[in-house]
Structures are given as C-alpha cells and as structure tokens.
Amino acid sequence: MAEVAWLVRRPLIVGDKSVAQVTRDICAAMETRPSALWWAGFLAALSLLGLGVTAISYEISTGIGTWGENRTVGWAFDITNFVFWIGIGHAGTLISAILFLFRQRWRTSVNRAAEAMTIFAVMCAGIFPLIHMGRPWLAHWMFPYPNTRGSLWINFRSPLVWDFFAIATYLTISLTFWYVGLLPDLATIRDRTASPWRRRIAGILSLGWNGSTRTWQRYEVVYLLLAGLGTPLVVSVHTIVSWDFATSLIPGWHATIFPPYFVAGAIFSGMAMVLTLMIVARKTMQLEDYITPRHVDIMCKLIIATGGIVGLSYATEFFMALYSSNPYEQFVFLNRATGPLCWAYWTMVSCNVLVPQLLWFRRVRSNLVLVFVISIFVNIGMWFERFVIIVTSLHHDFLPSSWVSYRPTCIEVATLLGTFGLFFTCFLLFVRLVPVIAIGEVKAVVSHDKLSGGTHA
C-alpha cells in the first residue's frame, strides 16, 4: 500500500527542497553573472534581430515588391510566419490556463517560461500582418475610432478584422495573466536582493505586495478567472486565424475542419517549442530539480496526443477532398502530395506525423537529447504545414495560365530570421530579469508533496 501511495504521489520537484531553498535556487539563476554561453546566445540573437530590422526597414522603404509574392501567390512567407508564431504562443496559454483549470500541478515548473514564450511569440507574429499592410504607418486604421474619413468604420464582417481583435486581446490578456502571476515573485526579489537598483525596480513593479492572506485570496480568484477567460480565448484565437483561410473560397482553405485542426496544430507546435526551450534552460540554469524528466515526459505525451489530432486532420482533409468529387478540391490535394512543392508536403508529414511516433517509447522520452531533436523536427514540420496550406493552395489556382511557383527572397528569409532574433533576445533577457519558474507556485507544490507523501525515500 505504501508503495502504491509513493507511486501515485511521486514528488514533482526532486531533491526534497525546503521553501527557502526554492527561493534561493530559482533566484540564483538571476543573481550570478551571466555565463559565456548566455552572452554567446544573446549576441547571436541580437545579431539576428539586427538583420531582421534591416530587412524590414528595407522592405518598408522600398515596398512589398522586395518579397517573392506575386499576383497568384499573394500570401506566402509572411502569413506562414504569422501563423507559425501565433501557434507557438498557444502552448503557453495551454500550460498556464487550461492545465491550471485541470489542476495539473506539474505545470508550475514550466508555466512562467511558457507564458513568456507566448508573449514573445505573439509579438513576433504581430510584425507580419503589420508589414504586409505595405503602409504600416497606417496600422491605426484597424482601430474603430472616429476619424476624418467619414467616419468610415472598419468592416466588422471581415475575418482580418476579427483576427486583429483576437490577436490584440490575446496579447493583452496573456500579458495581464503573466503579470498577475509575477507579482508575488517580484516581491520575493524585492525582499531578498542586495542590489539597490533591482530592489527599486522590483519594488515599483511588485505594487507593494505583502503576502497577506486577503490579497492571496483575491489573487487566486483573479488567477482562476483569467485562466477561465484564457481557455476559450486561446481556442478562439486560432479558430479565428483559421477563419482567415476557411471563410475564403480557395480549395484547400475552404474547409470546416480548419478550426480544430489549427488549434491542435498550434498546441502541438507550441509544446515542441516549450520542450526545446526548457531542455536547454534546465541544463544551462541548473534547474534540473525543478524541470525534471517527468515534466518532459508529460509534455512528450501531450505532443503525441496533439500530433495524433494533427495527423488525423491531414488524413481527413485528404479523404474529404477525394470524397467530395469536387475536381478543384481533388486537384489541390493531389498537387500538394505530388506537385512541384511536394517536398514541402512530405517534410511536413514526416516531421509532424512520423517523427513524433518515436515518443511512444519510454526510452525515447527519457532521453532528453533525443526529445530535443524531435522537438526541433516538430518545429520545422509545423512551419512547413503553414507553408503547405498557404502556398500550395494558391500557386496553382483555377486558371492554368496563371500558375506560378513561389520562392522567398533573401529579404523574406532575413525577416523570418529577424523574428527568431527578437524571440530569443526577449527570452534570454527574460531568464536574466525575472524568475524563470513561478517561485510562489512551486513552494505550494513542494509543501504539498511533503504533506501528502510524508517522507520520500
């Protein structure tokens, strides 16, 4: 009996930590000088960011003609990157909101970093529609404000307007959620740091948090409410992103399966990105006791589950096209699998459907290097999924005389690399400036482990 109890209540955090130790361990990563590895990563990310800024400046000053888009393929690299980054963000909300509602206590070790990842990914995503407007200095025209043009209001029937509202709300709510969760930890930094500057800044940002039970009680209510709002929000955001495509009449886009297919794909890709980042972070920041192989194991299982939904969607989509007896629909799918861009399609299928099957084996899930490699494959595969959906549906349209191919220009590639630069610059600054792990929540888990499990041999 005792053994069974031990199995059920295996501690989430290893090393039998005391509460004070949790504070010390997690804050230690920020209080030491950054390592050479951090500087190398930071400078590399900053260089990529510089490259991206250059590419975007060139594109804005010259025009959209610097991209490889043409009359037939009007959406390509930029919207692919947009959907890719938005999808990455979704795992953060899954971990922070949905798993919170399901009372999955393991999430406490990764939720802070995953939420940060969400915010940075949404920032990266937002760049693409903005620059695709061609005249980004008129971006405020997306807001429904009284103006001197009529007032000419925006068209609320347009999925692109829905998308604008979805992304803006998503970014705001994610930031709010992240900041609420950060308040107690900022207070912890304020009360322990020796650096006067850090104490000043943490003091202002922690808003006078004092650990009172009255505040904690309200904090928990707010956290629960934001999680409850975030859960339908994350589903709605990627649903609306999929409607950008599904409400059109393009074969290959016009499909009712798109919303669930996109949401599952988003969580799949985001989970892979969380794994990629966490496996590196736990190693380089000595957080092995907090982000344990067990956390990685659970996330791998989520990858199998969502990857399964994605694989099923690919098959359903293909079957429905053949079954529809619509020649245009059938052509688009055969063209995807056998046409000039079939290499992209088969890259997508192998990275997203075949490679993750390795995760069924416990031996693979416990080998972190292998998991890291698989997560990179999923990241690549999910980028190609969006590329396949967008470009192969457009490049051979209804009129064979307008068939073209699409090839990204170096400006487009540089812009994509630039967003990776932005993402990693933000992420590397984040790991230095705020606790990567939610200290308050982990303390509760540590005490819970102790209370329920007794002594852990």
Partner: protein
C-alpha cells in the same frame, strides 16, 4: 491612532493553519496572516468572506459584449452602411467573433484592475509586512490586542503549541 498587535512566526503551513483556526476559536481578532504562497483553507480559517471579484468579471464582461454588439450594429447599419458583397447591413453572425474577443478583453482587464484597487496594490507603494522573510519562507499570524483583558502570555502559549518559532508584541501605526 495606533494599535498593539501580537505576531506569531511559523515555519510550516500546517502549523499556521492550525494556529489560525485555534486563535479564531479562542475568540481572538485575527488581523491577517502573511504567507509566502497561497495556503488553502486559510481564508476560511480566518473567516474571510469569499471575494466578489467574480461579479466584476461577469458584469464587465457582459457590458463589453453588449456594448460591442451595439457598436458593430451602429457602425455597419446606422452610421455609415456599406454594402459588402451584398451581405445584410445587420450581419449579426459575423459580429460574433469580435464580440467574444471584446467580452474577454473587458472581463479580464477589468478584473485585474478591480483586483489592484480592492487589494490596495499600486506602483511605488511600500509593502506593509511584519517581516521581509514572508516572501521567502515565513508564515506570520497577526492578532490584535483588543482590550486590557487580552492575555499576551496565553496567546503566546497558544502559538507555541503550534510550534511557533517565536512570538512578539508590536505597536503599529494604524493607517
């Protein structure tokens, strides 16, 4: 105005929880309990009423949704009706996605702001706490010394019975 308070310092959540329950049963006036992380059941042990923030969330969320439906209707079919692909001016189903997003935005942001207001959190406010270690690993139970019959020794014994590290009497300025 100032008041005398008695503080009990604890090391573990189960101790402070039991001490709070016992103090309440003994009829002491519990001012607050300071903890490094949320301790479940402590609000009930203190006798705190449940938070009403959920109502703020509900009402402002509903307000956001209603406002947005009205706004979309007004802009597209009253202020400047524009024929887009022959769709009806009042295209209610097409208004649903933005309405939902605005509802979530209003509900979330207003709940957050209401939380800051009722909890008295604001930038630059100096934290009022009995011990800076509260945000690290200390649990502090604070009871008010209500009148002259308050028996400090007995309260100290009560705290000690729940493995309090130490107890301390303080005079604090009432704000």
């Amino acid at each position: 105005m100032s008041r005398r308070v008695m503080l009990g310092f604890f090391e573990r959540e189960e101790d402070v929880l039991a001490a709070t329950r016992a103090a309440r049963e003994a009829g002491l006036r519990i001012l607050d309990v300071y903890t490094p992380y949320p301790v479940h059941g402590l609000d009930r042990a203190m006798g705190l009423a449940p938070s009403r923030l959920a109502f703020v969330c509900l009402i402002l969320g509903l307000f956001g949704a209603v406002f947005k439906v009205w706004f979309e209707f007004w802009t597209t079919s009253v202020a400047w009706p524009i024929n887009v692909g022959g769709k009806p001016w009042n295209s209610l189903p097409a208004f649903v996605p933005v309405t939902f997003e605005v509802m979530v935005l209003f509900a979330g942001v207003s709940t957050f702001l209401a939380f800051l207001v009722v909890a008295g959190l604001r930038p630059g406010r100096a934290p009022v706490m009995p011990d800076p270690r509260v945000t690290d690993d200390r649990f502090v139970l604070m009871v008010e010394e209500t009148d002259s019959v308050f028996d400090a020794v007995r309260v100290e014994q009560l705290f000690a019975g729940f493995r309090a590290l130490h107890s301390e009497e303080r005079v604090e300025a009432r704000s």
